[in-house]
C-alpha cells in the first residue's frame, strides 16, 4: 500500500472527507455533494458553459480576488492604526520594516485587478446575453456588486493617508456636496428648510455625512476605515452568496436553449 493510499484510508482522512478519493465516477459525484466548499458547484455542467472562451472565468477570478483582498486585508489590519498620527507611518513601515512587506502591494494591485475583472465579467455577461430571462435579477445583484466593489476600492484609497489619498478622496467626495437637495451646494437644497432655517448646510449635508466633517480629516479616516474593513465587505459577502445561489437556481451558467 502506497503512502498516499495509507493516508487516504486513515481514520483521520476519512473523518474529514467522508469518502474515498474522487478517482471514479461515483466518488466524483459524492465529493461535490459532501464537501462544503465544492457544494457551491453543481455535480455536472454543460461543457461549453465552463469553457474559458465562454465565461473568460471573470466572475470566478473576481471572487478569487475578493478572497485575496480579504486575506491580505486582515494581515494589513494587524499593522495599521487608522489615526492621523499613525496611519501614514504604519503604511510606510510596512514597506521598510515588516517581513510580509509585499502584502500591501498584493492588496493594492489585487484591488485594481478586481475593479477591472468585475467590469470584464459584466462585459461578458452582457455580450452573451446572460442577463435575459430568467437571469434578470442576478444582473441587478451584479450591478450592486459592481458599485460596492468600486466603493471598496474608493474607501481603501484613503487609508494610506498620503497626498495621493486625501486629494483623490477630496475630489471624489466634493461630488456629495453637489447632491441635489441633500448637498450644501446642490440645486434645491434651499427648499429643505423649516421656519426659515436651512436644514441642509455644509455641516449637515451629504458630504458631511460621508466625511464626518467638513473636510477630509480624522473622522473621515475612521469612517472610511470601518466602511472599508467591515461594513462593505460584509454586504459584499452577502450579495456574492446570493449571486452564486441565483446562478444555480437560474439554471446554471447560461447556454443556448
Amino acid at each position: 500500500m502506497s503512502v498516499g493510499d495509507y493516508i487516504r484510508n486513515s481514520q483521520i482522512w476519512r473523518s474529514v472527507f467522508r469518502h474515498p478519493a474522487p478517482t471514479d465516477r461515483r466518488n466524483r459525484v459524492v465529493v461535490m455533494l459532501t464537501n462544503f466548499f465544492l457544494h457551491l458547484h453543481p455535480v455536472s455542467v454543460k461543457q461549453q458553459g465552463i469553457a474559458l472562451s465562454y465565461t473568460w472565468c471573470m466572475g470566478g477570478i473576481t471572487f478569487f480576488l475578493f478572497l485575496v483582498e480579504a486575506l491580505t486585508g486582515v494581515l494589513l489590519m494587524f499593522y495599521y492604526r487608522p489615526t492621523l498620527e499613525w496611519a501614514f507611518y504604519d503604511i510606510q513601515a510596512l514597506r521598510d520594516v515588516q517581513t510580509l512587506g509585499i502584502m500591501r502591494e498584493i492588496h493594492r494591485w489585487g484591488a485594481h485587478a478586481m475593479v477591472i475583472t468585475v467590469w470584464l465579467h459584466m462585459y461578458r455577461v452582457f455580450l452573451t446575453g446572460s442577463y435575459k430571462p430568467p437571469r434578470e435579477f442576478n444582473w441587478v445583484i451584479g450591478v450592486l456588486l459592481l458599485v460596492l466593489t468600486l466603493l471598496l476600492s474608493f474607501t481603501g484609497y484613503l487609508l494610506p493617508w498620503d497626498q495621493l489619498a486625501i486629494w483623490a478622496i477630496t475630489v471624489g467626495s466634493n461630488m456629495a456636496r453637489a447632491h441635489p437637495f441633500l448637498g450644501g451646494e446642490g440645486p434645491g437644497f434651499q427648499l429643505l428648510n423649516m421656519g426659515g432655517y436651512d436644514l441642509i448646510t455644509n455641516a449637515s449635508d451629504a458630504k458631511f455625512l460621508l466625511l464626518g466633517g467638513r473636510f477630509v480629516g480624522e473622522a473621515t479616516l475612521n469612517r472610511f476605515y470601518i466602511l472599508h474593513c467591515v461594513a462593505i465587505p460584509v454586504v459584499v459577502s452577502g450579495l456574492i452568496a446570493i449571486h452564486f445561489w441565483r446562478v444555480r437556481k437560474d439554471g446554471g451558467i447560461s447556454q443556448p436553449l
Binding site: M32, H41, I50, W109, G172
Partner: protein, 446 residues
C-alpha cells in the same frame, strides 16, 4: 545632465528584454504562419509564390536585431539611435493634444470596430494590430514624458486593462461573427456543438485550481516587481495639481469639464447605474441568450459598446494619461507644463439668446431668472419630455410597439441621457457653450 532623459541605460536594457519577448512572439507566429497561411498568390509582384511566413520571418529578424542593439550599445544613452524621432512626436502631440480630436477619434474607432468586425477578427489582422500596438508602446517608452505617466505604478493596471479588453473584444467579435454565419446558414451554434454534460470534478475544479495558482503567482510577481505608491504624508494645505480621483472614477471626473458636479457626480452616475439595472427589463429581444452573437442583437450590443468604449474606457484613458495640471489636455509625449494656458471663454445659452434682444435681463427674483433662462428650460424640457413620444411615433416606433408606454419611456430617456455627454461636448467645442440653463443663484446649471 539632462534632468529628463529620454533614454537611460536601464531603460535601454529594459526595452531590450521587451523587444526580445516581442521577437519570440513573432517567431512563434512565423512558424504558425508557415503551417497555416500558405503562399502569396503567384500574381502578386515580387512576393508571388513566397510563403506568407517570409514576411513574419523578416519582421522577427528585425525585432531580434533591435533587441540585440539594446543590449550591445556601448555609447552614451543620449546617442542611442532607436528612439522616437521628434518629427514624429511633435505632430502627434500637436494633433492629438485636443479633446475634440481624441473623442471623435475614439468614436471613429468604435464605429470601425463594429462595422469592420469581419475583417479585423481574422487571425493575421488581429495579430498585426497587436504587434503594431506593442511596437508603438516600446518605441513610446523611449520618451521621458510618456514613461513618466504610463509607468506610474497606479497606471500600470490601466495599460494592462487596455490589452486585456482588446483581446476579449476580439474573442467576442470572433465568436459572434462565427455564430452569425452559422445562424444565416442554418447550422447549429458554436455553443451547441460538443455540449455534453461533464462532471465538475475534474473538469471545472481543475481549471479553477490552475487559474488560482496562476493568479497567485501573477500577484506575487506584480507585488515584488512594482512597489505600491506612497507619496508625502497628507497635507490639507498643499493641493496637488492636478488633483485626480482614483483612476476608475476619471470618466466621471472628465464629465466635470462639461457639467456641474450635481450632474456629473450625482445624477449621471445614478442614471448609469439605474440604467444598467434596467437593462434586462427593457431589452425585449429574446435572441442571443446564452451565446455570442452580434447580428440578432446589433442595437443592444452597439449601444453597450458605445457606452463601454468611447464613454467609459476612453474617458478613463483621457483622464489618466492626457489630463495634466489645471486639467489641461497634454499630448502623450508632452511635458506637463504647469504654465500651459488655455483660454476658456465659455458663454451661456441665455447670453447668446438675449444678445439678439438687447442684453440679458438682470434681477434675481424668480420671474426674471425664469425669463432669462426660458429658452434653455424649454429646450431641456422638450428634450426629456417631448422627444421621447416623438421618437416613439417615428423612428423608434418598432420599439414603442413592442415595449408599451412605460418601458418605452424609461428606455428612451436612458438613451437620451446617454447622449447628453456627447451633445454637451459638441456644443462646447463648436459654440463654446457653457450652460444650456444657467441659474447659479440656485446652483442649478445644466
Amino acid at each position: 545632465m539632462n534632468p529628463h532623459p529620454d533614454l537611460t541605460s536601464s531603460v535601454i536594457h529594459g526595452l531590450g528584454w521587451y523587444y526580445l519577448i516581442v521577437f519570440f512572439m513573432n517567431l512563434y507566429w512565423t512558424v504558425r504562419s508557415y503551417k497555416v497561411d500558405g503562399e502569396f498568390a503567384s500574381g502578386v509582384p515580387v512576393v508571388g509564390g513566397l510563403p506568407v511566413a517570409a514576411v513574419w520571418a523578416c519582421i522577427s529578424s528585425v525585432l531580434l536585431m533591435i533587441s540585440v542593439a539594446h543590449f550591445t550599445g556601448t555609447g552614451s544613452p543620449d546617442t542611442f539611435m532607436i528612439r522616437l524621432p521628434e518629427f514624429f512626436k511633435n505632430p502627434v502631440d500637436a494633433f492629438f493634444a485636443d479633446p475634440v480630436v481624441y473623442f471623435l477619434g475614439s468614436v471613429s474607432l468604435f464605429v470601425f470596430m463594429v462595422v469592420f468586425r469581419e475583417w479585423w477578427v481574422k487571425d493575421s489582422v488581429a495579430w498585426s494590430l497587436l504587434q503594431a500596438s506593442l511596437i508603438f508602446m516600446g518605441l513610446s517608452m523611449s520618451d521621458y514624458d510618456f514613461r513618466q505617466i504610463v509607468g506610474k505604478p497606479d497606471n500600470v493596471p490601466i495599460v494592462a486593462m487596455l490589452f486585456i479588453v482588446a483581446f476579449l473584444t476580439w474573442i467576442y467579435f470572433r465568436r459572434a461573427t462565427d455564430n452569425d454565419r452559422r445562424v444565416a446558414e442554418g447550422r447549429p451554434l458554436f455553443e451547441q456543438e460538443d455540449n455534453e454534460k461533464v462532471l465538475v470534478w475534474p473538469d471545472l475544479v481543475y481549471t479553477e485550481l490552475i487559474c488560482m495558482i496562476l493568479l497567485t503567482a501573477l500577484l506575487i510577481f506584480w507585488g515584488i516587481g512594482l512597489e505600491a505608491p506612497l507619496e508625502e504624508p497628507a497635507s490639507s494645505v498643499k493641493t496637488p495639481n492636478p488633483s485626480k480621483a482614483p483612476w476608475y472614477f476619471l470618466g466621471l471626473q472628465e464629465m466635470l469639464v462639461y457639467f456641474d458636479p450635481w450632474l456629473a457626480g450625482v445624477v449621471l452616475p445614478g442614471i448609469i447605474l439605474g440604467g444598467l439595472m434596467a437593462v434586462p427589463y427593457i431589452d425585449f429581444n429574446k435572441a442571443g441568450n446564452g451565446y455570442y452573437c452580434f447580428k440578432d442583437r446589433w442595437f443592444a450590443v452597439s449601444t453597450f459598446l458605445f457606452g463601454f468604449f468611447p464613454l467609459w474606457i476612453a474617458l478613463i484613458v483621457l483622464g489618466t494619461f492626457l489630463r495634466g495640471p489645471n486639467w489641461n489636455f497634454y499630448g502623450i509625449y508632452e511635458l506637463w507644463d504647469v504654465h500651459k494656458v488655455k483660454a476658456a471663454n465659455n458663454v451661456n445659452l441665455s447670453e447668446y439668446v438675449w444678445s439678439l434682444f438687447g442684453g440679458v435681463p438682470t434681477g434675481s427674483d424668480i420671474l426674471t431668472i425664469l425669463k432669462r433662462e426660458c429658452v434653455g428650460i424649454v429646450l431641456v424640457l422638450g428634450y426629456f419630455f417631448v422627444l421621447p413620444p416623438l421618437l416613439g411615433l417615428t423612428i423608434l416606433r418598432r420599439f414603442f410597439v413592442r415595449m408599451g408606454v412605460l418601458r418605452f419611456l424609461v428606455f428612451s430617456n436612458l438613451i437620451l441621457w446617454m447622449a447628453v455627454l456627447p451633445i454637451k461636448m459638441v456644443l462646447r467645442w463648436s459654440f463654446s457653450l457653457k450652460y444650456i440653463v444657467g441659474i447659479p443663484e440656485w446652483f442649478f446649471n445644466i
